[in-house]
């Protein structure tokens, strides 16, 4: 999945910046099949749409895109920046709008039936807005409800990962160059009240981190120097491996924070008219 995200970033990098980006600098994060985008809802959604369109047009992947809210139009950033964007490429993306958690489970569980016609098997599964399906709208104060949300998060994540694993076998069995089947989802931590604290938010995200290999964190840079008088937004994008963080945490005996260590950073310049430009910042 990191290859798809990196392709998105490179596609929307200016020519001058792209010349400075070499493959060696992009190898900080190990190749992964699944990624979790964590951050502000609208930007995550745009990022996932970019991933879908880029994968379909540049890599020829068949994409299955699930989201609760219907997509009315493609982001402005796509209109002139994705070279291979054609109606034929867009037809490779199948959009599905499950309204509830249960409907989402059924849609994902039914993907295995496409294996009878391998060309229709998706090579990229995208689920936008997990919080819409997992989290209750009210602040979660009950431990029982927190456990229920965690279990739902685990069930959905495991089903997605297991389905992607099965579709990988199908693609490989038929000699498809599009294997493995990749998975990308987005999740926005909820802003709960002081009474509920951050326990319920962290608990769901902690469960999601068990199943997805890479976390892509979107963090807005609110420093004065970056806003340029409010004409654009600047976002820091961190790609970090969840598995490496967990193994590192287990080896240490001290009680250091289990916050992830960012290993690769991009910067996103978002103009008021919706145009996007990525820059490779630094790797740690």
């Amino acid at each position: 999945m990191t290859d798809i995200l990196t392709l998105v970033f490179k596609t929307l990098t200016s020519r001058g910046e792209l010349a400075a980006v070499d493959d060696g600098s992009l190898s900080a994060v190990a190749p992964a099949r699944s990624a979790l985008v964590v951050g502000e809802r609208a930007l995550s959604r745009t990022m996932l749409l970019l991933a879908a369109v880029t994968a379909a047009s540049e890599s020829g992947l068949r994409v299955f895109f699930l989201t609760q809210t219907q997509i009315q139009s493609l982001p402005v950033a796509l209109h002139s920046r994705v070279p291979g964007l054609t109606p034929a490429a867009l037809k490779k993306i199948k959009f599905c709008y499950p309204r509830t958690f249960e409907e989402l489970l059924v849609q994902v569980a039914g993907l295995h039936e496409s294996s009878h016609s391998p060309p229709s098997s998706p090579a990229l599964i995208i689920v936008d807005g997990l919080e819409c399906y997992l989290c209750s709208p009210a602040p979660c104060t009950s431990s029982r409800l927190q456990t229920s949300e965690q279990c739902s998060a685990a069930h959905l994540s495991a089903l997605l990962c297991d389905t992607a694993s099965f579709l990988t076998q199908v693609l490989e069995k038929h000699g498809s160059a599009h294997a493995p089947c990749r998975l990308i989802t987005s999740y926005q931590p909820q802003r709960n009240s002081e009474q509920s604290g951050e326990a319920s938010v962290d608990s769901v995200l902690d469960v999601l981190d068990r199943y997805f290999q890479v976390r892509c964190t979107l963090d807005q840079d609110r420093s004065y120097e970056s806003t340029s008088g409010g004409l654009q937004q600047v976002w820091n994008i961190y790609l970090s491996s969840c598995l490496e963080v967990k193994e590192t945490s287990c080896k240490k005996d001290d009680m250091e924070s289990k916050e992830e260590q960012p290993v690769q950073e991009w910067r996103l310049l978002l103009s008021a008219d919706g145009l996007m430009e990525f820059k490779l910042a630094q790797k740690h």
Partner: protein, 128 residues
């Protein structure tokens, strides 16, 4: 397994092996190890497969409830997995998932064929 057909020395050998495995499993997996071995003894693990090639596992618990578990990653809808593994992070697996691994390792998993539609409806079953 029909121990009565084996010489007594072989029967004792298998009992010793069983004891060693129980101690090692218990050390690694805690109290659910013996519970998982009981499930294996009862042949509680079934591998369901459909014409599409999709596979999943079902484990019949001690209470008679059936839990649908995944092959490639860890999830079980039982309360123990939700509380001990996910919430408290105090266990690696629940007894049902461990029973799946043990049954596969020992070659005692039951096999059952289902239709593609049945497979689709099985996996969203959130609670049994």
């Amino acid at each position: 397994m029909h121990f009565s057909f084996l010489p007594s020395v072989a029967e004792q050998l298998f009992k010793d092996i069983q004891k060693i495995y129980q101690d090692t499993l218990k050390f690694v997996f805690g109290t659910c190890a013996l519970q998982a071995l009981d499930l294996v003894d009862q042949r509680s693990v079934t591998c369901l497969s459909s014409p599409s090639g999709r596979r999943t596992f079902q484990v019949t618990g001690g209470s008679g409830r059936t839990y649908t578990c995944f092959v490639s990653c860890h999830f079980c809808p039982c309360p123990a997995f939700a509380y001990t593994v996910l919430r408290r992070n105090e266990g690696l697996l629940c007894k049902h998932l461990l029973a799946v691994y043990l049954s596969q390792a020992m070659g005692v998993t039951q096999q059952e064929a289902v239709s593609d539609q049945e497979m689709t409806t099985l996996q969203p079953a959130h609670r049994e």
